[in-house]
Symmetry: C2
Subunit: 281 residues, 2 copies
């Protein structure tokens, strides 16, 4: 179930696995929850302190009426760092919304964030892609009379996810409401505000980034076009880029082995020695 | 239910609505069936003879073990023309697979096909997009224990379709099998062969096209990128191009009003006078 962690301005639901330093925080995508990282964390908890977080508005965390901009989400990451690793700072691994938040937090709070892996979200995503994402996110605000209907819906919505990831999304992304229906844990109004906020200009944060960073794209992603990824690479020569073959947008759930290896290498190279740029192509 | 029409080499399930000339044939996308055109044909049957067709391997038509190349599908269109309008030829309106088939047929058999509207399929679709389409098509070969599960799946798979289109896909795209499950009418092996065939080079057919043609893109389509559409426009200056706002790939089901107006104007301008290029931007 995780632990409710009171950060002062907000209480987030988190879970820690592993005890070895450094601390690595995992941030899910919009409408999802911390459990999407289970197969990745399972592989990394023997090496690092892995903390999965339900971001604000999602899962079992607080869902304030407003406050879902890039600044709000990244403020939470700074508070998490102060709580979890006040002297060393944390690594942040984010997917989609979580990647956006990782980039913003690392740029604003370089003493709190030691390094990031940002998966399938970059600056320069096209307006038409955001239009489609917005439709998709809003369409997800739907309840189901039974678990079978819910699971069927998720299989259709995420056609490339393995069955274990589908079941995880069904089990941990919904709750039974008063009518006995399965309703999304993610707050509908929070999702609407969050998806609008994803359009905010991310370029200055990425170009100004000074901590080690890897950006990752799913080869078949329809959110991050090859062009947007290429432009993103060009704004900061220190950022390493990786493409995961055969994966679409949902890279951590589709390719947990590849992502855990990538994160393991990245964090292992950056720590425990003093921070240095990962040398990798 | 439609009518079984024996064309010699194959028997296709078709339905005719309306009696006024000319004849307009409607071709669905891969894994779909002729009923996706219902809302479009409803609007056009007062003006034209509208014929919706389950293409080979789909719906209630024959499903031979092999023979799903662009040549096979376009041969069927020539046979349909000879049967339905042997002296005048037919207009063909196709979506996705149907658009590919319309382009190939119009190029190969310009005396059988008077003009085409090709919706959201062009040459120059990127390999990575075909990879994703292939995954998506193969993932659709799935049965359901009940109608509610099926409908939920379709809502997830086609997030932008209106509810009436979802219900139409559930009702007309599946049949109860011996186990009582809802199984796809589209043949799994035919779909696998068909989706491979979609990668065949379409450029020579479009560039050589001499009959009036409109190509249409959904503004939010992830199958036809803006770049592919732009390149397709450039290979044949006589081809008219139209973008439908707010629609993604499934344009006929998402925007039946816009598509029926477009088809009505196009066919109305081309016929009953002698063929001429539609003047339109």
């Amino acid at each position: 179930m995780g632990t409710r962690l009171n950060l002062g301005s907000i209480t987030l639901n988190v879970e820690q696995k592993g005890t070895d330093q450094p601390v690595v925080v995992f941030l899910h995508g919009i409408t999802a929850n911390r459990r999407v990282w289970d197969p990745v964390i399972e592989r990394l908890a023997t090496r690092f302190t892995c903390v999965s977080v339900d971001q604000r508005g999602h899962g079992l965390s607080d869902k304030p009426d407003g406050g879902y901009s890039d600044l709000d989400y990244s403020n939470d990451i700074r508070l998490l760092s102060e709580r979890l690793s006040p002297s060393e700072g944390i690594f942040v691994v984010g997917h989609s919304l979580g990647a956006r938040n990782a980039i913003v937090a690392a740029s604003r709070f370089p003493l709190s964030v030691r390094g990031i892996v940002a998966i399938d979200f970059v600056p320069f995503i096209e307006d038409s892609v955001f239009d489609l994402l917005e439709k998709r996110v809003l369409a997800g605000n739907r309840s189901f009379s039974g678990l079978e209907q819910l699971t069927s819906y998720l299989r259709g919505r995420y056609v490339n996810l393995p069955e274990d990831a589908i079941e995880r999304r069904a089990e941990f992304g919904y709750e039974r409401n008063e009518a006995g229906e399965y309703a999304p844990l993610a707050s509908a109004s929070a999702m609407a505000e969050t998806v609008l906020g994803l359009r905010e200009d991310l370029e200055p944060y990425l170009s100004g980034l000074e901590v080690p960073a890897v950006i990752v794209r799913g080869e078949l992603s329809t959110l991050v076009s090859p062009e947007a990824f290429s432009r993103a690479r060009s704004v900061n020569s220190r950022v390493v880029s990786v493409v995961i073959p055969s994966a679409d947008h949902y890279v951590p759930e589709e390719a947990p082995k590849e992502i855990s290896e990538l994160v393991g290498n990245f964090v292992g190279n950056c720590a425990p020695e003093t921070d240095r740029i990962l040398e990798r192509n």
